[in-house]
Assembly symmetry: C2
Homo-oligomer: 268 residues x 2
């Protein structure tokens, strides 16, 4: 069983309630990698007997540090329409709510379609780039095969301020795993904090909210399979303790799979 | 009293509960303008006696059509930390939940700050541009003074497909009103549907979720006052019944006030 599938495994505990736990394979410096928590929140709606269609949008609010151990998920369909469904989800631990989420699920139809965003061009193939070393990192980056085109995690925090916060990289689960909504939302949170790329100095940071729009349906995700997706992330603004991160995840064929935005607390 | 202040007026009805109503000055084709509903959802946390600090992020999920008339708002602080607070908010009407929201409030501190996003340059001043005519439009666009630089609402739906969905415009409340979080979140939803700009043909559309990050605090908003803000909106992807809209709102001095993303249902 893939460690991500172990990490998002949930047991139905009561109506609207599921039990899960943090997984050592996705440990961060303190507590778990937020991407896994986001995937668990989504999974509680995915597994719910009332679930309609597939996710099109997910907002996760990281309300408090998640402690290693059990997490109780409460997922409630606030509204079910003919082709859309709105979820409110909470993650609880002994000391209270640690995360909240809203999700929109939908049954999609074929329509006129077009991608306006522009995928970076002249990007070397993943095979032509080295995998980012994960030595001395927490467990979770070991669970990703990341190959940076630009804006890599600084080898040294040399405090040489860069002109921008942009990163472009190929990324997939490690070991390889067929892409699905759970892994796509985890990957949405796998970009390193933009302030590290920009300032190359340590800062206390914490994502407080992340919204991912799924432009892909399960059929398109299945076409990506176990291959890398191209991630692009940048920051629009750093101001008074918060910065944002805006990201895109592309299929190798140039389909926009997801766009993701997060707001991050920082202390300098 | 400004019509926006009337529209977001709420009466405390019970612990965590407020009563408000749709306002004819912000009527859409059917039901109210979503921006006003978003501002009401935010306002229920703003007015709550437990509120800490100022909003930094708001996600609104438009779960069902809002009927003209009374709306009951239920706002609950799911988690209050030392400097951040997480809200879950629901809007109810007789037939059920019509909108849900999560909001993050925070007490900000001065830190290193920088804007990386680039404000469009060579933009004429608002005074040098004509106001968009609002004849034959629903009530809500009359409540905005919009002056388009590019990507205006098509005068005719001539079905001439455009190469992109980008709009750039100056926008302020009409009548003029000092900018605050309520008006900023309403303006976040005031961009016309990207598919109208792109395809110049009618389509049934409905925003299903919108996330706004507030990069500005109240001090910066007060500096904008009653002047126009510069709005920029575009679409990244149209696919299988949904498209996104990504927007920015800039102060005349080039401060990024808010960035906003929404996912919109469409039927072609």
């Amino acid at each position: 069983m893939h460690p991500l599938d172990e990490a998002i495994e949930l047991q139905a505990a009561a109506p609207n309630e599921f039990k899960g736990a943090t997984h050592p394979a996705y440990a961060n410096m303190v507590g778990p990698f937020g991407g896994t928590t986001a995937a668990q929140l989504l999974q509680s709606a995915m597994l719910h007997p009332e679930r309609l269609g597939e996710p099109v949008a997910l907002t996760v609010n990281f309300a408090a540090p998640v402690a290693d151990g059990e997490i109780r998920f409460v997922a409630r369909a606030a509204r079910t329409n003919r082709s859309t469904q709105h979820w409110i989800i909470e993650a609880h631990q002994a000391e209270g709510v640690v995360a909240t989420a809203t999700a929109v699920f939908a049954v999609r139809r074929e329509t006129w379609s077009d991608v306006e965003a522009v995928m970076p061009d002249n990007v070397p193939a993943p095979e032509a780039l080295p995998r980012m070393p994960v030595k001395n990192m927490p467990a979770w980056p070991e669970r990703y095969d990341m190959r940076f085109v630009e804006g890599d995690f600084p080898a040294f925090f040399d405090e040489q301020e860069q002109t921008h916060s942009r990163s472009t990289l190929w990324v997939r689960d490690e070991p390889a795993r067929a892409l699905d909504f759970a892994s796509l939302v985890s990957i949405s949170d796998s970009f390193f904090p933009r302030i590290y790329i920009r300032r190359r100095r340590r800062a206390l940071i914490g994502t407080i909210t992340m919204t991912t729009f799924f432009h892909a349906d399960s059929t398109l995700l299945a076409q990506v399979g176990e291959r890398h997706v191209l991630g692009v992330a940048r920051a629009l603004s750093y101001r008074h303790g918060y910065f944002d991160q805006t990201g895109e995840l592309w299929s190798p064929e140039g389909q926009l799979l997801a766009s993701t935005n997060q707001l991050v607390y920082f202390k300098d």
